[in-house]
Subunit: 348 residues, 2 copies
C-alpha cells in the first residue's frame, strides 16, 4: 500500500490532527452501554458500574515489533488491538474500550493510515470494542502504535497470576509455536524476494502459520467457554512471550513449582512439518516462540471433569510445591529446569 | 545526563524488560483506594465504584514534542504526566492512575531512564496518582513516552466541551503564553550555545517562562477551588494547543459563538517584557502559544459573584449565539474573527 506509486496519495498533514482523527474514526460506532462519551472531549467517560475496571497497554514499534515489508497495515491494526484484548481476557474479564495513539512519519499517506484503521475497525466490530480516544502525531521515523485497552470484570471473577496452588492442573488453549514459525517463513520469503523480486512463493504449506503471525485472535471465546463450563481458573496469563516465560511468571508470582510435560504441548501439524523443514526443535519453538496469544491457566483438579476432552483446552502439566522447581518433563521422562528464553524487546 | 561520559552507565538491556520495569517502579507506592492491582499482572485492576471512569492518553516523541538538549529528563517525565492529568481535570474529574509506556533507543542508559522515572514519580506523589502499568521496549530512534491517565468523576459533576450556553461567561485560569515564550528563550540559548559552548546564559529575566515550559503544573487546585466555590462550569477544556484553538473547540461543539476581549487576556509581566524583546505580539502568543495547561471554562452569569476577584480566575469573554461567530474584540474595540493557529503536531 505504501509502495503503490501509481495512486495519488494524500498527505496526512493536509487534514490536521483534529480533521484526521474525525476522518479516521467516523465509521466507528459505539457498541458498549458503558461508553458514555468516546472520542471528542478531553477524556472519554465510561460508566462501569458494579464491576472492576481493567487497564492494560502495549506499544508496537516499526522495526522492533513489526516489519511492514510483509505485515499489511490492515493486519497490523487488527493485531495491535488483539495484543491488548488478550491481556484483558487473561484477567478473565470482558474487553470494552480502547484508545489508539499513533505516530507516523511523513512517508505514510492518509490512505496508508486508513488501511491501518480498517484493521482496528474490524477488530472493534468483531470483538465488540469501542474506540474512545487516542492521540495522533508525527514521528521522526517510522510507525508507532500505542493502544490502551479497558475492560470490566466482576470482583469475584477476576483471575490473577499469583494464585496458582499446589496440585492444580496447568492448561493451555489452542496450540503453540505457529506464530513464531509464521514469522520465520515470512522472513525467509522476504530474503528470497530481495534476491529475486519476480519469485512467486507458494505458501500453501504455511497458511496456518502465516495466519497466526499476521492475524492472531485474542481468546474471548475461551472466557465465555470457561463461564459456560463453570470453571474459574485459579491463575491465568496470556501467552505473548512464549510458554516457558509465562509458566515462570505464574510460578514465581504464585510461589509454586511446576512439571510441564513435553509430550502434552499442543502443536499444529504445520508446526511439526515446518520445524522439520527448518531443522528446529518443535518443543523449543513452543516454549520460546511467543506471539501465540493463547491463554495459559491453572485449575483445581476437581474441575478436570468439566474440561476433559474439550478440543480447545489441553492439560500440559501440574503445579507442585515451590522447592520442586519449574521443570520440563521430556518425552524420555527426564526433568530439565525450565528457563525463559522468550522474546526480549529490549535486546533487539 | 545522557552526555555525561565520565560515569560508567548501565545498558538497559542488561536488566531485561521485566527486570527494568521492576527496578523503575520499585519506589512507587499505591495511594488510591481504587487501585486493587497495579503493575505486575496482565492488566491493572481498579475498583471505581459509584463514579464514572475518565480515560485520556497522550504521546510525546523526541524531536517532535521535546528536545533533550534543553529538557532535562526528570522534567520531561514530570511534564508527560501533567499533560495527561490536565485532560482529566478538564472533565472536572479527579485523576487517580496512569500507565506509562516507554520506547528508548540504545543511546539511553539505565541512569537516564531512572532520571525520567524520578520525574514521573514526583508527579505521582505530588498529585496522588498510582502508576498501574505500562510497556517498555526499545526504539529504533529516540525516546517516546505514551501515557494513559485514568480518573473518576461523579456522574453529576462531569463537564463536557459541548455544553456552553449563550450568555455564559468565558473564564481562564492563571495566565497564558509563558510556556511558548519559555520555549523560544530555550531555543535561542541552544543556538547561542552551539556557536559558543562556553557562554554562560543569564536566564533570570525568563525564570517564570522557562519554568512554565519545563515544569508545568496541571490545575488540580482549580477543580478543588470550583467545588469549594460551588461553581460547576457549563463547559470546560484544558489549554494545550493555544487559547484560540480551545475556544473554537468549545464554540463549535456547543454550537455557540463567543466574544473574547483582548484586554482581559491574563499575561504575566515576563510575557509582556519578553514579547517586546522578541518583537512578538503578546496577544498572538497567548492565543496560539499552547502548552499552558490552564483550564478554560464557561459559567452561568449567576455564578459570577462566586468567582469575582479570585486571583486564579479571569473572565475573558462571553458566549453569544452561534451566528454571531467567534471573535476577538481588540483593545481598539474592533471585532476580528478568531482562527485556530495552534500547534499542529502533524505539520512538524
Amino acid at each position: 500500500m505504501i509502495e503503490d506509486k501509481n495512486k495519488t496519495l494524500t498527505s496526512i498533514s493536509e487534514l490536521g490532527e483534529f480533521g484526521l482523527i474525525k476522518h479516521l474514526t467516523k465509521n466507528f460506532k459505539i457498541q458498549q452501554k458503558s461508553t458514555i462519551k468516546g472520542v471528542g472531549d478531553d477524556a472519554a467517560v465510561l460508566n462501569i458500574t458494579k464491576k472492576q475496571v481493567l487497564v492494560t497497554t502495549d506499544l508496537l514499534i516499526e522495526g522492533v515489533h513489526f516489519d511492514l515489508s510483509y505485515m499489511p497495515l490492515k493486519h497490523l491494526g487488527y493485531k495491535a488491538v488483539m495484543v491488548n484484548l488478550s491481556d484483558v481476557y487473561a484477567m478473565n474479564g470482558n474487553a470494552t474500550q480502547i484508545t489508539v495513539s499513533l505516530a507516523v512519519s511523513n512517508r505514510f499517506s492518509l490512505e496508508a493510515i486508513e488501511e491501518l484503521y480498517e484493521g482496528i475497525h474490524l477488530a472493534c466490530v468483531t470483538y465488540g470494542i469501542d474506540l474512545v480516544g487516542g492521540d495522533t502525531t508525527s514521528s521522526t521515523k517510522g510507525l508507532l502504535i500505542s493502544i490502551t485497552a479497558i475492560g470490566e470484570v466482576k470482583k469475584e471473577d477476576v483471575v490473577y497470576r499469583n494464585t496458582a496452588k499446589e496440585g492444580d492442573l496447568l492448561v493451555v488453549t489452542g496450540d503453540l509455536g505457529a506464530a513464531y514459525l509464521g514469522l520465520q517463513v515470512l522472513e525467509r520469503e522476504k530474503q528470497v524476494f530481495e534476491v529475486n523480486p519476480n519469485s512467486q512463493p507458494d505458501l500453501t504449506n504455511y497458511s496456518y502459520l502465516i495466519e497466526r503471525q499476521l492475524k492472531p485472535e485474542a481468546r474471548k471465546d475461551i472466557i465465555k467457554l470457561l463461564k459456560d463450563l463453570k470453571v474459574k481458573p485459579t491463575a491465568m496469563i496470556d501467552v505473548s512471550d512464549g510458554l516457558s516465560s509465562e509458566i515462570l511468571h505464574i510460578c514465581k508470582q504464585s510461589k509454586v513449582g511446576c512439571d510441564l510435560y513435553e509430550e502434552k504441548i499442543p502443536l499444529d501439524p504445520q508446526v511439526i512439518s515446518t520445524c522439520e523443514e527448518f531443522d528446529l526443535n518443535s518443543t523449543t519453538i513452543a516454549l520460546s516462540g511467543g506471539e501465540d496469544y493463547e491463554l495459559l491457566f491453572t485449575i483445581s483438579q476437581e474441575d478436570f471433569p468439566k474440561i476433559k476432552g474439550n478440543p480447545h483446552l489441553t492439560v500440559i502439566g501440574h503445579i507442585t510445591e515451590e522447592n520442586m522447581g519449574v521443570n520440563l518433563v521430556t518425552r524420555a521422562n527426564q526433568k530439565i529446569i525450565l528457563t525463559a528464553q522468550g522474546w526480549n524487546a529490549l535486546a533487539k
